[in-house]
Every structure is written in C-alpha cells, then in structure tokens.
Symmetry: C2
C-alpha cells in the first residue's frame, strides 16, 4: 500500500513512534502508508488478544484513532499545527482474529478547506471515517472520528 | 471506593488480568471496585502519555470500555454468559494529565431485565454510560457503550 514517495516518511514515523506515544508502540502498531490525504496503519494480533480469542477492542480503537493524528502530520504543517481528538465512535462488526489494517482519506478540497480554516480561525474540525479490516478483507469494525487541527500558541 | 464485600473479587480480577487481556494489563489498568451493578477502574498516567503531554486517547477508551465486560462479570453468571462490545462512543472534554478513573452502574431493575432477556433469548443488549475523571475530579471524557450479554454455545 506504500508508494515510492512515502517510504522515507513511513520509516521516519515508525522510528519516532516509541518516543511519541509509547503505549501505541507497545501494541506493535505500524504505520503502513503516510501520504498527504491518505494514511494506513496495521496492528498485529500477537500480544493484543483477549480471553475470548479476539483482538481487544482498545487495540481496534487505536489502529483507527491513530489515523486522525497521522493524517494531520502528513497533510499539514506540523510546525504550525497539531491535531486533537474530539469525539470518536467505533462500531464492532465481527471478531478480529488476525492482524488488522485501518485506512482513511481526505480529499484535496477537504484538505484545502481545513488548511484555510485553520489559518484564518486558528483551528479547524475534520471528520475521518475508516473501516478496520482483517487479513481476509472482512470489515471487523467501522469508525467515525471528529478531530481538530489547532495552531500552536505563540 | 471499594467495600469490604468486593475486596476479594477485586484482588482476584486484578490478579487474573495479565492472562485475560495482556494489552490492558500492560497499560497498568487496575480494577478498583467490582460489585454487582457497580464497577470502577483506574489507569495510571505513567507510561500512557503522548507527545502533547496528555494521556493517549486509546487508554481513556480502555479504562471505560473495560467496564462493560467487568460489570457483566460482577453481575451475571459467567458460566452461562459472556459480554461483547457492539458500539462505543467517547467524547473528549479536557486533556488528561494525571491518573484517571472511570465508573459505571446498572440499576437493579436493569440488571433484572438483562438477566431475564438473556435467559429467554440467549442474548441481551445493555447500555453503559461513564464519565472519566482525573485526580482533581475534572471530567476528561464521557462515554456511552452498547454491549451484549450472550449465552455460551452448548
């Protein structure tokens, strides 16, 4: 799912993750694609299961919620802005019994709207939907997150 | 927040957690109260922060989502039934910069409804709301989860 363009960024972000958010790193989360407007993550099943034989819900939450910050990093100027999560909903559709992947996209017009609004108002909300799929392509959960891009205080 | 009645059960559950859901145990989650219809959990700040100085969203999710299974364990016959999460929504209200606590309750009439419905239909949905508070009592997030109590297959 990576392209030649984002290989270096993906490696850099994966390398920084243990320092940035250690608890996410301890889940084994991997950034798979990190392009402007398009991001993908993976969480391994190993180490993340529960007593019923499925992946723990909090790992499914994480593999998707993480996209909201990641897409801000790949799409906006992180020297000027940082992302926060405001609201997140996850609907569980099937037990996850393998590694899982989550992807999300923002269109160019939406990226432009967010950047323009953040520049003029100091903040801009954005909604990110994702499907979490297992190794067979089955959708194990779907999510909708509300995030906000905020200007750093000067 | 514990009572003399649930002390032994709390100790037993905390002791079993590393085997039941290792990823939750690695977050340092502690069961604080485990009574019929009333449960409380705590997640420590240490080890669970992000690069912005707050607790990672996935830990806030976990400290609350965990209550849905926990209250089933303390309120129903786990030889007959097990709980699953169907849907979960979390609204982030303030950065969490300390240990956090989450509590949830089900009334006796609601516990009776769930038990009766699970017995007759083999499953019963229940909704659990919680507030996540920091060490100062500030609500850092509020949640609503939809869970289902299911009969084990025979």
């Amino acid at each position: 799912m990576t392209t030649p363009n984002d290989t270096a960024l993906v490696a850099e972000l994966n390398s920084a993750l243990p320092q940035l958010i250690p608890v996410v790193s301890r889940m084994g989360l991997q950034i798979v694609a990190a392009q402007r407007g398009k991001v993908t993550t993976m969480a391994p099943f190993t180490g993340n299961g529960n007593h019923l034989g499925g992946m723990y819900a909090g790992v499914l939450f994480t593999v998707s919620e993480f996209l909201g910050g990641l897409i801000a990093t790949t799409s906006f100027d992180t020297q000027l802005y940082y992302p926060v999560a405001k609201d997140f909903r996850i609907t569980f559709r099937a037990p996850a019994t393998s590694d899982v992947w989550a992807s999300a996209e923002l269109t160019e017009p939406e990226l432009d709207r967010i950047a323009t609004e953040a520049q003029s108002r100091g903040k801009a909300d954005y909604t990110l939907a994702s499907a979490i799929t297992d190794v067979n392509g089955t959708v194990v959960a779907s999510t909708e997150g509300l995030f906000q891009l905020r200007a750093h205080r000067r």
